[in-house]
């Protein structure tokens, strides 16, 4: 069959600058460069991951969009035409990686933050204490105290287990299998140093990371991979994964080629077999069933740690979250439709789910209306790109946020969206040893820690400007947000006024 598909990118190599060291050829895991008497690109294989550009000692390489023009068409755009070619040739579902790249509204960018002027003083975070500490877990409905004769008192309410975070940012669930072990190592070390959490994702936790358990949320997903008593007992918290923003309502599928020795041990399945995560948990067909699994896990960990539930942001997310909280979840992670993934059908990623901003506001509202907001912490995820997004999420009602894509970008990810190929040239979403070595866990941990530190400093800066000295004071305080360029209905859902009001 004649291949109709033009290449996406062109690799340009300046002959005068190229010193023919061939480093680019060795580093290109997509085999887009070969050396004859000079470096010769195969444009059709280039994914614009920029590995060659980054390693070229003489700056001789540039990657540009293929200049070949299709006739301008706002309806049948280049990507749509190419997808039809691909599917007509192979007859399969389009697969992709990372989060939704379509130009849907990003509500974070329509929200502006307040600041204190004259009537309420702002605070200088450089000189005054600024509190980002956050506790995840079920809070009591009331506090009871015992007062003794001498005027002293003691708390008599038994508190449910809580996790202390030094910053309201945790790492999102990314499985060992989707990402490499070195990435998990970097996440674990950074989480420990920053006083926060990583999330194992659904592929188990490598034995060498059990010692980081206090900084790890472990997942129980429909495939139940790598779950045994030690896994549940070592963790800081357990999260039942129902859904993921990039793929609401569908299962997962780690191909057999990726189930190598260490992954097989960690997932506790034989080498080379496909790791199938069914779309639903087959012991959960209702809220009552969810409650049954939540309490099975609580029994297994003897009520010593929070048990949460992760769901995708879908149309009825508010009602579902209410059920999840009533089912006994101590925290609810809501993953918006722009959330990342290692592999998902493109059609699902780009068309299913709703934005995290709307979902978060709706859930927070609903739980408040029902008087159960305190019964569970809310974690928002699904494309948190900056400290401003974190702060806006907290103001909309989140207790904390989870970052996945941002964390991988900190490790070098260039957002080429080829995670599912297992060829990641930056060593992040691959299990090929020659590639995984490209992430140094210590250096990676440093970068991740730096990112958390930088965002935390910025959050303190904004809190100071707001005249607040604690992130707790901002939680759910939508009065401190204003909208620009949104419709009345959108503002109503977000619970914010327009700028100027």
């Amino acid at each position: 069959m004649l291949n109709f598909l033009p290449s996406d990118f062109s690799v340009l190599i300046e002959p005068e600058s190229c010193i023919k060291c061939r480093r680019c050829v060795r580093e290109c895991s997509f085999e887009a460069l070969v050396f004859r008497d000079r470096v010769v690109p195969d444009h059709s294989r280039c994914v614009a991951c920029h590995r060659c550009v980054a390693v070229c000692p003489s700056g001789a390489i540039t990657v540009v969009r293929n200049r070949l023009a299709f006739r301008q068409n706002a309806n049948w755009d280049e990507e749509i035409i190419k997808n039809v070619y691909k599917q007509a040739r192979v007859g399969g579902k389009l697969l992709t990686g990372t989060g939704n790249d379509k130009p849907y509204p990003i509500y974070w960018d329509h929200l502006l933050i307040d600041a204190a002027q004259v009537t309420n003083p702002s605070i200088d975070p450089l000189r005054e204490p600024m509190e980002l500490r956050t506790y995840l877990g079920r809070k009591p409905s009331r506090l009871d105290f015992y007062h003794d004769a001498g005027g002293g008192f003691k708390l008599t309410t038994v508190l449910e287990p809580q996790i202390k975070l030094e910053t309201p940012i945790i790492f999102a669930g990314m499985s060992y299998g989707a990402v490499s072990l070195n990435v998990h190592r970097a996440l674990a070390a950074a989480a420990r140093r920053a006083g926060t959490l990583m999330n194992s994702g659904e592929g188990g936790l490598h034995e060498s990371l059990y010692s980081f358990g206090e900084n790890v949320i472990v997942q129980v997903a429909s495939g139940r991979f790598g779950i045994n008593r030690a896994y549940l007992e070592r963790a800081a918290a357990v999260e039942i994964k129902i859904g993921q923003g990039a793929k609401p309502g569908i299962g997962g599928h780690l191909p057999g080629e990726k189930v190598t020795g260490e992954i097989s041990k960690t997932r506790m399945i034989p080498e080379g077999t496909d790791a199938l995560s069914p779309a639903p948990h087959h012991d959960i067909y209702s809220i009552e069933d969810l409650r049954q699994l939540i309490y099975a896990i609580k029994e297994a960990v003897r009520y010593q740690k929070p048990v949460g539930v992760k769901i995708s942001a879908v149309h009825n997310v508010a009602a579902i979250s209410s059920g999840v909280v009533r089912a006994g979840a101590d925290f609810v992670t809501i993953d918006g439709f722009r959330g990342g993934t290692g592999a998902t059908p493109t059609i699902i990623r780009d068309h299913v789910g709703i934005p995290i901003e709307m979902a978060l506001a709706a859930v927070d509202d609903r739980l408040r209306q029902e008087g159960i907001r305190h019964q569970a912490s809310l974690i928002a995820s699904g494309s948190i790109r900056s400290s401003a997004d974190v702060l806006k999420a907290v103001a909309l009602g989140a207790d904390a946020v989870a970052i996945g894509t941002a964390a991988l970008i900190a490790l070098g990810c260039q957002m080429c969206q080829k995670c599912y190929t297992g060829r990641c040239a930056w060593g992040i979403t691959t299990q090929r040893v020659d590639l995984t070595d490209r992430v140094d866990p210590e250096e990676g941990a440093e970068r991740l820690y730096n990112l958390l530190r930088a965002w935390s400093l910025e959050i303190k800066e904004i809190l100071g400007a707001l005249g607040l000295n604690s992130i707790e004071s901002l939680r759910g305080s939508r009065e401190r947000l204003r909208a620009v360029g949104l419709t009345g209905t959108e503002m109503e859902i977000l619970g914010v006024k327009p700028a100027g009001r």
């Binding site: 691909k86 599917q87 040739r89 192979v90 007859g91 399969g92 579902k93 389009l94 697969l95 129980v220 495939g223 139940r224 779950i227 045994n228 008593r229 549940l232 599928h253 191909p255 057999g256 097989s264 506790m268 399945i269 034989p270 080379g272 077999t273 496909d274 199938l276 069914p278 087959h282 012991d283 049954q292 699994l293 309490y295 099975a296 896990i297 029994e299 297994a300 960990v301 003897r302 009520y303 059908p345 599912y420 190929t421």
Partner: protein
């Protein structure tokens, strides 16, 4: 051997399980639990090879995440028995409900009577751990769905005339392990990812050994059970969902 009898009447599942934990911590290794009536999660989180003899009807998730104990139920069980179990044994004299043995990775579950739907869903083997489910009676639909490893044996004893031994969609999505069904299984009952293959001598040796254990538990006659032929089901591929994508 330290043995106690414990009355479950009037206790919530949390209270009952907390008491079990304390008894086990005190070194008790055989516990007779009487008046069990819908208490969930019995045996969950117990990590010692203790023996629990249950009298009554335990609730769902009996032995969920269990690692070591042996539970004998003198009565019937409910749903999700042995959920994500790692090791140990659950032996049920009566019937059991749906999703029995969901995602179990090791140990054994023996049921004398009938079981519900989606039994043995996604059970998987790993290294020396080979989970086994043996059912004396009949099973509902989706028996061995998504099965990834281990052994499931269905005997179809005490059937009414014309009653099928198993429901439809047997082994749908199966990609590992073996299912043995005593009697006849029709092609239309199978999921499209599994196939019927000839029984070998090796298979009969495996059955002989497993069923010797099973018949001893319930006072059944092994030769009588072995008299009828068995059907063997295996996955057609270890990669049933490989060819669905385009990059």
């Amino acid at each position: 051997m330290a043995l106690v009898k414990h009355d479950a009447r009037g206790l919530s599942f949390r209270e009952l399980n907390e008491r079990l934990h304390r008894l086990v911590a005190d070194g008790i290794d055989i516990i007779d639990l009487v008046n069990v009536n819908g208490h969930r999660y019995i045996g969950t989180g117990l990590a010692k090879p203790v023996r629990l003899n249950i009298y009554g009807t335990p609730g769902s998730d009996l032995g969920a995440f269990m690692d070591g104990p042996e539970i004998r139920v003198n009565g019937s069980g409910q749903d999700a028995i042995g959920n994500t179990m790692n090791s140990g044994a659950i032996i049920i004299n009566g019937d059991a409900g749906n999703v029995l043995g969901l995602s179990m990775r090791g140990g054994k579950i023996f049921v004398r009577g009938n079981v519900g739907h989606r039994v043995g869903i996604h059970i998987k083997a790993f290294a020396e751990q080979v989970p086994r489910i043996i059912v004396g009676g009949v099973a509902g639909d989706f028996f061995g769905e998504y099965m990834a490893g281990g052994r499931m044996i269905l005997l179809g004893l005490d059937r009414r005339a014309g009653q099928p031994v198993v429901g439809d969609y047997v082994g749908t999505g199966m990609h590992g392990g073996t299912i043995y069904i005593r009697g006849k299984v029709e092609e239309h009952q199978l999921g499209k990812e599994v196939g019927l293959v000839e029984m070998t001598e090796e298979d009969y040796a495996v059955l002989q050994e497993d069923l010797a254990e099973f018949t001893a538990c319930f006072n059944l006659s092994l030769p009588e059970i072995m008299r009828e032929p068995f059907a063997k089901l295996v996955p057609l591929s270890h990669r049933p969902y490989g060819q669905l994508y385009v990059y």
